[in-house]
């Protein structure tokens, strides 16, 4: 492999890692708003280390949801990483004890950068450089966000209350637009999820409506335009 390709891979990986890691501040603030203390927020960033799941956990807790509903939401979003792992095995060939370390950094960004690397040997470099830079930035910025949010007054709290739903919308947005696969179906799924969640809110314990919305949309089968089999067909 050329040293120019190696340098370019490192530069791209670290650039992405720093940019994404900055968003850890939003997570730290959301965790504080949900009633988690600094150590709980940092534990999530250090141990769970998968952004969407972390946001889901504190989002459900912030809405007054149970620990079970919060953990369930986090795990549902965490299933993505299982599929990423399968795609990474041929590139990274993690063996023996190394597999346990590699697994911790299997997330959206490290997978994307590994798959995008021009050569097989660069995949591992891209994975490690992206993983290390995001891990460091994400955890450091979690501390900054949690401490910053904890010191806020009334008006700044109102700002934070508006930032949390905006953060979820920003996570959702790319899925609703091309070139994301089946963006039209994704939009209908999203509308369905939001409507079911709001409709159930007055009637079920907080947090349950989020899980129920996901289950309802899954059971409803794929909206028109999808060629996937319905849940009922799969069970048959």
């Amino acid at each position: 492999m050329s040293s120019a390709a190696r340098t370019a891979t490192l530069r791209d990986a670290i650039g992405l890692g720093v940019a994404v890691g900055l968003y850890g501040a939003a997570f730290g603030a959301a965790a504080d708003a949900a009633g988690l203390n600094l150590w709980q927020a940092v534990s999530l960033s250090a141990l769970m280390f998968t952004g969407a799941s972390q946001f889901a956990l504190v989002g459900v807790l912030g809405a007054g949801g149970s620990a079970l509903a919060a953990a369930g939401s986090a795990l549902l979003l965490g299933t993505r990483n299982t599929v990423y792992g399968v795609r990474l095995v041929p590139l990274l060939k993690p063996s023996g004890i190394r597999r346990f370390g590699t697994a911790h950094w299997v997330i959206d960004e490290t997978t994307a950068m590994s798959l995008a690397a021009p050569e097989r040997e660069l995949s591992r470099l891209a994975f490690l450089a992206t993983g290390a830079s995001i891990y460091l930035m994400w955890n450091a910025m979690t501390v900054v966000g949690a401490l910053g949010a904890a010191s806020l007054g009334g008006t700044a709290r109102a700002a934070l209350d508006s930032i949390v739903p905006a953060a979820f919308l920003a996570l959702l947005w790319p899925r609703l637009r091309k070139p994301f696969p089946e963006a039209g179906v994704q939009r209908r799924v999203a509308v369905g999820g939001a409507v079911v969640a709001l409709a159930l809110t007055p009637f079920v314990p907080a947090g349950v409506q989020v899980i129920a919305a996901v289950v309802a949309v899954a059971l409803a089968g794929p909206p028109r335009g999808s060629d996937r089999p319905t849940a009922a067909e799969e069970m048959a």
Partner: protein
């Protein structure tokens, strides 16, 4: 919710998410490349994230409410439609929410 319950949720969900990652590197590819797994991975995030947007923006306990958060969300949607960077979206949403809070 007690501090202990919160810690259990944090640690148990973290362990579960790690095991989901480890499973991808450990099990035969055929186990994971099932239609129902693809379905969960492709469509559950949109339903879950949209449900969280709705609950975070329009509920308070068991009540549906419209408050300053609506302004923040509308501004965020506009900024996202205009392809603003993540951090700009969040700052604008926060500023809109704070402004409405001060005026209201």
């Amino acid at each position: 919710m007690s501090g202990t319950t919160l810690w259990v949720a944090v640690l148990a969900a973290s362990l579960g998410c790690y095991l989901l990652k480890l499973a991808g590197l450990s099990v035969p590819a055929g186990w994971v490349e099932q239609p129902w797994v693809a379905r969960v991975v492709d469509f559950v995030p949109a339903a879950l994230l949209a449900a969280l947007v709705a609950v975070q923006a329009f509920t308070s306990g068991r009540h549906l409410v419209v408050d300053a958060r609506l302004a923040g969300l509308a501004v965020a949607a506009l900024a996202l439609a205009l392809r603003a960077p993540f951090i700009v979206v969040l700052i604008l949403a926060g500023a809109a929410g704070a402004l409405v809070h001060v005026l209201a």
